[in-house]
């Protein structure tokens, strides 16, 4: 047993002992909010609070909530949900006990969307599980947080502890030293393989469609697998008000519209939304020039609660980036004709269709079955088939779980079964030549068991085991997971966890400064399965109910992590990846403050060290950012909502270029070197890989907005300013050795970027 594993076990034992020694003078309230008694349609997103305190929680998809810790005595429980009457219940809280409360809401006549002025950033966990390394964000949290061009909930994720970004142009999530392809991204529980637009500048999740998200940064429960570093679970917003409700958002980048409502007395909800960028259309209107790029999103979500406790949910998504550039149609700026130029066609995007059925058997048993199909594809076509490249992953997935909620144990048993088809093809239909045409059809299956065990009112242990197998690799493994949470004092909790994670899907995107999307390959006889062990220990302290400070330390040991091979041979299978071992360790700190009024926000600090080793050589991956500080604040200034974000981070590694070698061409038709081609190709020569670091980054973003009530609609214009003081943050260095005075040019990340937009809701 390694020293690190021994340390983790020792930490868990210490935490258990601490818990048993801790006093038991507080209690909790847990329960469920439903919209109708007959269908038990869950009220997701209801705010449950204790009157006279700032303690509050938001109900999850099942309508469940948890409020803790609470001093013993009589408390007034208040439940609020837009479109429904506020409900209050008197609850008696006993020390060392959890009071169970179910609330049924009734429709209200109020139909305006609530103003987001004092929306809370973070939702607390609504389960009794330890939930270490877990952060939940409310959709409303986005209001007032500065955005770049377009409000984007996923951008918020980059401001959380444990998450760093490589640079402004590369929003692949780097979680605790992981790689950008090691994040499992789920929309309503269904996987999306590449949920980003424009090379990651924006996520595929439209602001108005997001109800909230949850980020797990380590030692996940057994129900999650196949990504080594994190789980990002985004859930769709649900409209519980009857009638038709519309949200429209016109930003500097694009236009978004969402239509939603509830039906059948609240038993069902529906929403459809769409977004499209319009720079291409605007360019056509005002100039003769061409801007050949746009992206669009379409999303639909519906829920319906049948009689008998069966709830159905459907999620559909389609999004695509399209670059269709007829180079001959670009405005000519020289006497020489551009008519001979060819065409670039390039598109990529996701498709998703998923349904879920959930049935409660009483209050203690829930059965869930899910079925989904998801796809991500890229298509590049240069010169009408002179060169074409295609990558796609299609997946059909079935999964299910059975959850039991006892007073001491909350066991769950679940499965996943996924059939995938991956294709990576490159060649030319015009010349009828093929560089590569790789098709993979792996089938993967997982069976998992998880139990949340309330050893004492203050000590909760979650243990799990995930058995996995994959056909293409003929691989099977058991991955244990364990975590615990100790309420050492009413305000202090200690957490620890350990788990083995595996990954059978890998990206060819590489470790470069630019990463636009992942091109996926599955493990097979050539490509091994990547594995990692997570060890996490932390402490969490509440500050007067409105505040919280959380510190977590982690060690992530990669037994095997795969790095894309820059020199792989298209005519040979098996050299696509170079396996390495790896180690990441560090600590995250989150200090948040979210009172009912006044200034709210958080400070996130991440310290991390990451290294990879192969053949005796150790290096830092390009995402290894040692210190990352994010400060986010929002406050109300008269009628204006003001948001600010400041980030400071140490530089990431890069490889200095020390020279260049000219690539000479040999002309076989004349048997001579050199052909007088117009362009000389200079290949860069690098020093030791990632042996230097960029200077530190810092940036201040500002946002101001105001709500107006206009004829029954809420109109919210907003102004944003990214990089407000125009900090010169280095994106890359470009070297020139073509003169006798070699130079290095620093290319900036985002310069100062103003943006504006308006949101209308009714």
């Amino acid at each position: 047993m390694s020293a690190r594993r021994q340390l983790a076990i020792a930490a868990i034992l210490v935490a258990i002992v601490s818990a048993r020694l801790a006093a038991q003078d507080t209690g909790a309230i847990a329960g469920r909010v439903v919209l109708r008694a007959d269908t038990a349609a869950p009220a997701r997103g209801a705010v449950v609070s204790i009157a006279g305190t700032a303690l509050a929680d938001t109900t999850n998809a099942d309508g469940r909530f948890l409020l803790a810790p609470l001093g013993s005595g009589q408390r007034t429980l208040r439940v609020r949900l837009p479109g429904w009457r506020t409900a209050e219940r008197i609850v008696l809280v006993r020390a060392g006990d959890t009071a169970r409360v179910d609330v049924v809401l009734r429709p209200d006549v109020q139909l305006l969307e609530t103003v987001r002025t004092n929306a809370r950033f973070f939702a607390d966990s609504v389960t009794d599980a330890p939930a270490l390394s877990t952060l939940s964000l409310d959709a409303a949290a986005i209001a007032g947080v500065p955005a770049v061009g377009e409000p984007d909930v996923v951008r918020l994720v980059q401001l959380l502890p444990g998450v760093v970004s490589r640079n402004d142009f590369n929003t692949g999530l780097i979680v605790r030293g992981g790689e950008a392809d090691q994040n499992l991204v789920l929309l309503d529980g269904f996987p999306l393989y590449n949920p980003f637009h424009l090379g990651g500048l924006f996520s595929t999740f439209m602001d108005a469609t997001v109800g909230g998200l949850e980020l797990l940064t380590g030692a996940f429960p057994a129900r999650y697998g196949d990504r080594l570093s994190s789980v990002l679970a985004v859930r769709s917003a649900e409209e519980h008000r009857p009638g038709l409700h519309t949200t429209a958002d016109l930003s500097a980048l694009g236009a978004t519209a969402r239509f939603a409502g509830a039906f059948d007395d609240g038993a069902g909800t529906w929403s459809v939304a769409g977004r499209r960028t319009y720079a291409d259309a605007a360019q056509r209107i005002f100039t003769n020039d061409v801007f050949p790029y746009h992206f669009h999103d379409l999303q639909a979500h519906a829920t319906y609660a049948l009689r008998g406790g069966v709830r159905l949910a459907l999620t559909a998504y389609e999004g695509r980036d399209v670059l269709d550039a007829d180079l001959a149609a670009f405005q000519s700026d020289s006497v020489f004709s551009k008519s001979s130029r060819g065409r670039w066609k390039f598109d990529w995007g996701n498709q998703l269709l998923g349904v879920a059925a959930t049935k409660d058997f009483g209050d203690r048993v829930t059965l869930e079955q899910r079925l989904s199909t998801t796809a991500f594809s890229t298509n590049l076509n240069l010169g009408d088939g002179a060169f074409a490249q295609r990558s796609e992953v299609r997946e059909l997935r079935a999964s299910g779980s059975l959850r039991l909620r006892g007073d001491v144990h909350e066991p769950s048993l679940g499965y996943e079964l996924a059939a995938q088809r991956l294709r990576y093809a490159s060649g030319s239909s015009a010349t009828q030549t093929t560089d590569v045409d790789l098709v993979q059809r792996p089938v993967s299956a997982a069976l998992w068991l998880d139990d949340v065990w309330h050893l004492t009112p203050r000590l909760t242990v979650e243990g799990g085991l995930r058995g996995e197998t994959q056909s293409a690799r003929h691989w099977a493994a058991l991955s244990p997971r364990a975590s615990l949470r100790v309420e050492a004092t009413p305000l202090l909790a200690l957490t620890a966890g350990v788990g083995r994670i595996t990954q059978t899907m890998h990206s060819l995107a590489g470790d470069g400064a630019l990463r636009y999307f992942d091109i996926w390959l599955a493990s097979d006889s050539f490509v091994p399965v990547a594995t990692a062990w997570h060890y996490v220990a932390g402490a969490e302290r509440r500050v007067r109910n409105a505040g919280l400070v959380r510190v977590e330390g982690y060690v992530k040991h990669y037994d095997r992590v795969l790095e894309a091979n820059l020199s792989d041979d298209p005519q040979r299978r098996g050299d696509e990846f170079l396996p390495a071992s790896g180690l990441s360790y560090g600590a995250d700190l989150l200090a948040r403050w979210q009172p009912d009024s006044g200034v709210s926000g958080w400070v996130a600090y991440s310290y991390g060290v990451s290294e990879r080793t192969r053949d005796g050589t150790t290096w830092s991956p390009g995402s290894d950012r040692r210190h990352d500080l994010e400060v986010v604040a929002r406050w109300q200034l008269a009628k204006y909502r003001v948001g600010a974000r400041f980030g400071f981070a140490t530089g990431t590694p890069y490889t200095p270029i020390v020279g260049g070698v000219t690539r000479r061409a040999y002309d076989p038709s004349t048997d001579r070197w050199g052909t007088g081609d117009p362009e000389i190709v200079i290949e860069s020569l690098g020093a030791s890989y990632n042996s230097a670091r960029f200077p530190p980054n810092h940036r201040l973003d500002l946002d101001v907005s105001r709500d107006f009530l206009v004829r029954g609609a809420t109109v919210t214009p907003y102004l944003g300013l990214a990089n407000a003081y125009n900090a010169h943050n280095v994106f890359v260095y470009l070297y020139s050795y073509s003169t006798d005075l070699p130079t290095r040019r620093a290319i900036s990340q985002f310069p100062i970027l103003p943006s504006a937009g308006v949101r209308v809701a009714f």
Binding site: S337, W344, D384, A386, T434, R664, W673
Partner: protein, 393 residues
């Protein structure tokens, strides 16, 4: 496989750099200098040429005067390494020494070392070892084996109507070949690619994806050579890989003591196409220089064959023209008797570039004029007077 992924990032990189801007430019100290070798043993070459130069490290400013085939380093931004001793150890153990081309010690031919070893005498699938020792005592070595296969020594010449024709080339597998290298010469730059197949189809409307602007590969009016060659793994790995510009990683070479390639090539197929296309447009056709002798005698070009290479994609842009011109060659004005022409026409206004040969990178003269009925009338930039070119019926 990953190398082709890089193509997908080109657009994104362009967008990112477009959004970014330069914030600092700083002088840095020169880096280390390495020896760079480009050598190929060719089964069809009368001699075997090796190029030896230094990598660019910022200690010298490479220069690029007009390209000369006889001086592929000195005329093409090279930093030639002169005075080295280069030898080739044959499979039989015989050691041959190369002679540098810079006869008389001038700059012309510096860094170009030649083994007077005909390709026909190269032994196949047996190791040849190259050894280099510079004047400063640096040592570099590499090894290659020449694949099997009968070399194509004479070109198959044929006409090629770009609008209707497609050239299908097949060849036998070559023992010892790692891959097959297809290369099409084109005035805007060659198109070259590797294939593991033994057949390739080259349609007339094929685009050149080696150039960012994706122009047509076949240009009417131009002669274009096509080769298919069997290559060894050194040649294949060096020319199929590229260094990531930001990290310098990715390039595969097997030269010890330096960088570069020492590979082998057997030219299996050689074609010489005379590319044509229909000429229905008023500007397309054969035009002869006409006029009184005192006007025509001062002109260098006596005949034009013009084609509409591409019609404009927009009404406010010109059509692209291509073709060839017959040129007077004299003792005082040597050069190509038949040269390439590129140009454009828009609303009757004609602009033509008369090339020094067949490469778009080297222009000899520029013509500006207009199409009046069946006559092109205008002026050359260098030659005096007004030139009239009358279309043949």
């Amino acid at each position: 496989m990953r190398s082709s992924v890089a193509r997908l990032l080109v657009v994104g990189a362009g967008l990112a750099f477009a959004a970014a801007c330069e914030i600092e430019k700083a002088a840095i100290p020169p880096g280390p200098k390495f020896l760079a070798l480009h050598g190929v043993l060719s089964a069809s070459a009368p001699t075997q040429a090796i190029l030896l130069e230094r990598t660019r490290n910022g200690s010298l400013r490479p220069v690029a005067p007009s390209f000369e085939l006889e001086s592929p380093l000195g005329s093409d931004s090279g930093i030639a390494e002169s005075g080295a001793t280069i030898s080739l150890v044959t499979p039989a153990g015989e050691r041959l020494f190369a002679i540098e081309d810079n006869i008389g010690g001038g700059p012309r031919g510096e860094g170009v070392y030649r083994f007077y070893l005909p390709g026909a005498s190269l032994e196949r699938n047996l190791p040849y070892r190259l050894e280099v020792r510079t004047r400063d005592g640096e040592v570099l070595s590499a090894e290659t084996s020449v694949p099997g296969g009968a070399p194509a020594l004479v070109a198959d010449s044929m006409g090629f109507d770009r609008s209707t024709d497609a050239l299908v080339i097949t060849w036998p597998r070559s023992p010892g070949a790692r891959s097959y290298f297809v290369r099409v010469e084109s005035p805007l730059g060659p198109r070259a690619f590797f294939t593991s197949d033994t057949t390739v189809r080259l349609p007339g409307d094929l685009r050149n994806v080696d150039l960012d602007e994706l122009p047509h590969l076949f240009i009417p009016g131009f002669p274009q050579a096509i080769t298919v060659s069997a290559v060894d793994s050194n040649y294949y790995d060096w020319f199929r890989t590229h260094a990531d510009p930001l990290s310098g990683r990715g390039l595969v070479d097997r030269v010890e003591g330096g960088l570069g390639v020492f590979g082998s090539i057997v030219r299996l197929r050689l074609y010489d196409l005379d590319v044509t296309a229909p000429q229905p447009e008023p500007i397309a056709g054969t035009f002869d220089l006409v006029g009184p002798p005192e006007d025509t005698e001062i002109q260098r070009y006596t005949r034009l064959d013009l084609y509409v290479e591409s019609h404009a994609a927009r009404s406010d842009q010109p059509d692209a023209l291509s073709g060839r011109a017959v040129r007077r060659v004299t003792f005082f004005d040597p050069g190509c008797p038949l040269c390439g022409v590129l140009g454009s026409v828009h609303d009757g206004k004609v602009e033509l570039q008369f090339l020094s040969g067949w490469s778009a990178s080297d222009t000899a003269d520029t013509f500006t004029g207009e199409l009046r009925g069946d006559t092109i009338v205008g002026n050359f930039q260098i030659a005096r007077g007004v030139a009239h070119f009358l279309k043949r019926r």
